[in-house]
């Protein structure tokens, strides 16, 4: 007889949290970060799940109901275009508007000369980060927002009103969505809260990657001071969204703070010293942090090993997961490692072989969660995702 959702949820939550604390559950938990894949599976296109979050929520629920997954993100197609359009944010290419309907949304980084923050504006950011974002940054990234001192417009007023109301609308919809996952599917909501490293924020949304690289050479002290100024705010935002039950981790999305995007010296002097205290502060409040290590961060594993045992879950993207396990496996739970190209272009048998290799190599003593390397988009084949799921269920029993 099939288990009811409540029983499933209890078993899955225990399995997922046990593994995240680097323990050995009854079987390997499965927690795929499925984004546009959910649309493909549920019969939507990328435009639909990006522009109508209700369709994205439906797609996530359908996948959670049909696949035996322990945890999923309530909506991994997180950037709802309703908000970006209401606020006039111009850095996204949106499917169905700027892109064809079957391509996932894209971030468009401006050229160096048009960076959203100029190199002589570090002091203003450092003195008042929140004021800088409202008064300088938002008017530059928005088609509608107007900077103080400029002539006000109707569109400016509406961008704040509509942007704020859209965000409230979206965020309040997550509670019922998480309840649906639990009550209809018995599936755990995988993460809660958002964190990015100060240096990544500077590179991603303020100076741009090229601008940041120039600054690291020409004004490294300003970069460090800006990162320090961002720290308390990023900590505050992360904690404000963290799981009150302290079961699931805060997601840390790691972008371009590693070698070769920055040098070892800059990682050691700026990236890590301005991220590590944030992690420790979040840990002190009783939460784990999920390091979503996009790309390859294996040059920095010794630094991550400085953190307390069990304080993070370390997700492996393109790096050698066996090397990660050797360095961090005693301290932290790992996740990921199944290449996305294989899920998109390989065969079911090849997927099963890779899953077997990962399970044999890193999951023997627990502390591992099955997942793809990166966020799963609509290029993944349904049969390959099914193969990853079913093989893990058969072979991943302790």
């Amino acid at each position: 007889m099939a288990k009811d959702a409540e029983t499933l949820y209890g078993e899955r939550l225990k399995r997922y949290t046990t593994a995240m604390r680097n323990g050995k559950p009854d079987m390997i938990p499965i927690r795929p970060f499925v984004a546009e894949f959910t649309a493909k599976y549920a019969g939507y296109n990328c435009q639909q799940v990006t522009q109508d979050y209700n369709m994205a929520f439906e797609a996530a629920v359908k996948c959670a109901a049909d696949f035996d997954w322990d945890a999923v993100v309530a909506n991994m197609v997180y950037v709802w275009a309703g908000i970006t359009q209401a606020a006039g944010l111009k850095y996204y290419a949106v499917p169905g508007v700027d892109l064809d309907v079957d391509t996932g949304f894209q971030y468009r980084e401006p050229p160096e000369g048009k960076a959203f923050m100029q190199p002589d504006e570090y002091d203003a950011l450092i003195a008042d980060p929140t004021g800088f974002l409202f008064n300088v940054w938002l008017p530059r990234v928005s088609t509608d927002a107007v900077a103080p001192g400029e002539t006000n417009t109707f569109r400016n007023n509406m961008s704040f009103l509509k942007g704020g109301m859209a965000m409230m609308n979206y965020f309040t919809a997550f509670g019922p969505q998480i309840a649906r996952l639990k009550n209809e599917c018995g599936t755990v909501s995988a993460i809660a809260g958002i964190l990015k490293a100060p240096l990544d924020i500077l590179g991603d949304k303020l100076r741009g990657y090229i601008g940041l690289c120039m600054d690291l050479l020409e004004r490294p002290d300003k970069v460090l001071a800006a990162c320090e100024a961002l720290m308390p705010h990023l900590t505050s935002v992360a904690l404000s969204g963290a799981d009150p039950d302290k079961n699931v981790p805060v997601g840390l999305w790691m972008h371009r703070g590693c070698v070769p995007f920055v040098s070892h010296e800059h990682f050691e002097r700026i990236y890590w010293p301005t991220l590590k205290p944030i992690i420790q502060e979040i840990n002190k409040a009783g939460h784990q942090v999920l390091f979503y290590a996009e790309g390859n961060w294996n040059h920095h594993l010794d630094s991550f090993a400085e953190l307390a045992d069990g304080s993070i879950v370390y997700h492996v993207d393109n790096a050698d997961i066996f090397e990660v396990h050797k360095k961090l496996g005693d301290k932290f739970c790992l996740s990921g490692g199944v290449p996305n190209y294989l899920l998109g272009y390989g065969t079911e048998d090849e997927v099963r072989q890779v899953c077997r290799k990962i399970i044999d190599g890193v999951a023997k003593d627990g502390g591992y969660i099955m997942d793809a390397s990166a966020i799963v988009q609509n290029d993944a084949k349904v049969e390959n995702i099914r193969a990853m799921t079913e093989f893990t269920r058969e072979y991943g029993v302790y």
């Binding site: 944010l89 450092i126 929140t130 004021g131 964190l195 924020i201 949304k205 505050s236």
Partner: protein
């Protein structure tokens, strides 16, 4: 986290209560209630801009 104390607007704050309080003058009723509601709503403005930066 030392920089927090030096900043004009600490985490969670857009328009500090101290600044707003000066505009209101003497509060004849429950001042703590006024302060709490001001801060709660002000925090929503803070969330808006930092979520725009981080999530959207």
């Amino acid at each position: 986290m030392a920089k927090q104390e030096e900043q004009k607007r600490p985490p969670g704050v857009c328009v500090p209560w101290q600044e707003k309080m000066k505009e209101l003058g003497e509060i004849r009723g429950d001042g703590e209630l006024v302060r709490k509601v001001w801060k709660d709503n002000d925090a929503l403005g803070y969330m808006y801009i930092w979520q725009c930066l981080l999530s959207f």
